[in-house]
Every structure is written in C-alpha cells, then in structure tokens.
Amino acid sequence: MNGVTVSAKVNGDAVQYVCPADESLLDVLRNRLNLTGVKEGCGTGDCGACSITLDGRLVCACLVLGAEAEGREIGTVEGLSEGGKLHPLQEEFIEKAALQCGICTPGFLVAAKSLLERNPNPTEEEIRYALAGNLCRCTGYDKIVRAVQSAAKIMRRGKKAAR
C-alpha cells in the first residue's frame, strides 16, 4: 500500500490520518474518522449525498482523494450544530418534514448552508438551481425547498437581532 499521511482540519478540529493514495475523502471521513453523516449514493458526482465543504467550497467528497486534503479545511454535516443546538436548517428540515429515509439529508443540509452563506435571501428558483446536484428519491423536493426558505428567513432575522 502506498500510504499517504495527511494533516487536515475537520469542522475546526485538527485531524491526522494515513490512507492509500486511491482512497476517496468520502471513505476517509466515514471509515477512518468515523464521520458517517456523509453518505455515498453513487460515487460518481451525481447525487450529492457526499456533499462537504473543502476550504469553504462545496464539493462531492466522492470525487476528492483523501490525499488531496493535506492542509485543507473540511466541513461536514457534523459541524452544523453548535454546543448541542441544531442549526436552523436542521430545525426546519424536521419542522417541515423535509426528510423521509434521510440518506440525502446531510448532503442537502451542507449544500443549503453553503448556498445561504453565499446568498442569504435566495428565490425559490435559486434554491432549486443550487440544490440541483442533490438527489432525493423520497420527498419530491418541495418540502426541502420550503425548509430552506424558512431557515433562511429565521437566519436573516437572527442576524438582524444580533446587530
């Protein structure tokens, strides 16, 4: 095995791992770092279940080599809640029943969070376009869009209150 030693940050914490050069970051996160929130739906970039952020940019973990993460900052769904308190997106996904089997949910949450950081007040069309790389076989998407809209509203209000 051509092992590669990698030091990176995951959700703000420093991590180190050794992985074969051909192992995907998805497998590293799930099998070596026990972060099983990230899911594998296809392994080919089509479903978005493996969505994570790499240095703040939304990517598919299945299309990144574990070896490439050296020195980078990784964000996963496990980093959404703070001090045991769910992120507004997570609250609204529950509130609006935006999940059924839940396999797609971590990917949608990470992708939606990344969208709202770039655009705090997206239109329905912008939400649907930004989440086009996330597939869901259960919900029919509508409740997911409503949950994102409602979380966006709450987050905008929160920001105003904090000012």
Binding site: A21, D22, T44, G48, L58, C60, L63, L65, A132, G133
Partner: protein, 289 residues
C-alpha cells in the same frame, strides 16, 4: 480503483520531472471530476497521479496587456465568480457555469474540461471562438497550440505523456466584441450537451458585423471551428437571412452520431438553431458593453 502513487509537487520543474521519469503510466490531476471516476473503472494497474493544483499559477487568472492568462486548474466556481472575466467573456463564463452541479463546479476546471477532450465538453466551443491558446510545458520547453488544433479525437488531445497544460491564454477581444454559448439538453441542469454552439461577434458602429467566429460541440468527434458560419455573419447586420445562412452552415459542418440522446438529423438541426440564437445573444451583448 487502481494502485496509485500520489504526488503534489509545488513547482512546475518538479512536475515535469515526475512526468518524464515515471516508470508507470502517469495521470495529471486537476479537479478530478473526470479523472477520479475514470480510475474507478480500472483494476490491477499501477498509476502515478500528479496533482498540479499546488503549482503557483495553476489556479490563478491574471490579465496582462493583451490577454487573460488562465490557470488550467482553477475551479469553475472560482472562475464564474470573477466579474472582471464575466465582463469580457460572458459566453465563456456561461459555458463554465453549465458544468455539472454546484458541487461539481467546486472542483471542475477549464483545463480539465479541455484535456479530457469530451466531444460534448461545454467550455471548449467558447474557448475556440475566443481564440484561446494552450501553453504546454514538457521536458524540452514550452509550446503553444490553438485550442481548435489541440483536440485530436474523442477523448484525445495532442499532449505527450510527459507534457502538461500550464496555462490557457485568451486574447483580449477587439472593441465592440462579445460572445455567447448555448447548449441543448433534455433537462434543465445536470446533463451533457446533445449539441452546443458558441459565437463571438464584433460589430462596427453601424451594427455591421466586421468579425465573427462560430464553434460547435457534441456534433463531431471534437468541438470544431466553423469558418463558413462565421463568413455568413461577417458583412451583415445579422438580419434573418444572415442568421439563417449561419445556421445552415453549422448544420452542414456537423458530423454527429445517433444515440439515445439524439439522432443525427436532430443534432444537425438543433446545432443550427443554437448557432442562430447564440449569434443574436452575442450581438445584443455588444450593445451592452
């Protein structure tokens, strides 16, 4: 996947050294959105992967006096955010914006799109109409190849195994020039072009087209430049007759295949329609600059 050795050199010299001395087949890695999937299919093979993203300049895009020097590994999400580039090459930026999903764009690069040489690659027709040039580095120095000559077949380009694409140079266009790219897909996003067309036009002060370039994609083994379609536009005010003639020239130049995504007849027809519409959009954009 195959047994890999991974290197991420931080200089061009080191990268070229790795490419030219490797004992096993070498693959250059940019965003991996084509390469990592292609390697998943292979077994029992050894491969050296050279990740070029740490080499200075590979992910940058800088203007010089007469051109944009684009690092081939810059992600589409970085590229499409650049308003300075959007203002000059709106058609090239819209082509990059069509690639995959937000997630895929976080990694996919224009250089990877070009080197992967898919007949349906979205950015290639837009690079061709903008006269983009590939800067290629090998053990014996650098050479320059126009994008339309870089591609040699389905999935093939002219890079030798010890060569690397180090930059894409896009000349600054003449005054009153703009571009546009359109593709046809059966869905609204996340799909591969059934046909695509890019057009660049230069208009004089009276609105007469003084220069044009047309390139079409997904309708031949490689994206191709269509000089006859450009000639149909030059010297006209892009009236219906001229647009119709350009469309016919693109349809004529197309050499498509039939598959489950479209027949030969359909692709020929659609590529003409896209040429016409892209020419109109590019001309309207000239008015806006």
């Amino acid at each position: 996947m195959v047994a890999l050795t991974y290197h991420a050199p931080d200089s061009l010299e080191e990268a070229v050294q790795l490419l030219s001395t490797a004992r096993q087949p070498v693959k250059v890695l940019s965003g991996g959105t084509d390469l990592i999937i292609q390697m998943q299919g292979l077994t029992q093979d050894e491969r050296l992967v050279v990740d070029v993203k740490k080499i200075p300049g590979m992910r940058a895009a800088d203007w010089s006096d007469d051109h944009l020097r684009l690092g081939p590994s810059m992600s589409c999400s970085q590229f499409t955010k650049r308003q300075d580039i959007q203002a000059v090459f709106p058609g090239l930026v819209e082509a990059a914006y069509l690639i995959g999903s937000t997630q895929v764009q976080g990694r996919a690069s224009l250089g990877g799109n070009l080197c992967n040489a898919s007949p349906a690659a979205d950015t290639i027709p837009a690079l061709i109409v903008n006269r983009a040039v590939c800067l290629i580095q090998g053990p014996n120095g650098t050479r320059r190849v126009n994008v339309e000559d870089f591609l040699t077949g389905v999935g093939k380009q002219c890079l030798a195994s010890d060569e690397l694409l180090v930059a894409i140079e896009v000349p600054k266009p003449a005054a009153r020039t703009s571009d546009a790219y359109l593709r046809f897909i059966p869905r609204t996003e996340m799909d591969i072009a059934v046909a695509g067309a890019a057009v660049s036009v230069t208009l004089d002060d009276d609105g007469v087209c003084s220069n044009a370039r047309v390139a079409i994609g997904a309708v031949a083994p490689t994206a191709i430049l269509v000089p006859s379609a450009a000639e149909a536009l030059i010297g006209t005010k892009l009236d219906d007759d001229a647009l119709h003639a350009a469309a016919a020239a693109s349809s004529q130049a197309a050499n498509p295949i039939s598959d489950r995504r479209g027949t030969v007849e359909f692709r020929r027809h659609v590529v003409g329609v896209l040429t016409k519409r892209a020419a109109k959009i590019a001309a309207n954009r000239v008015g806006a600059v």
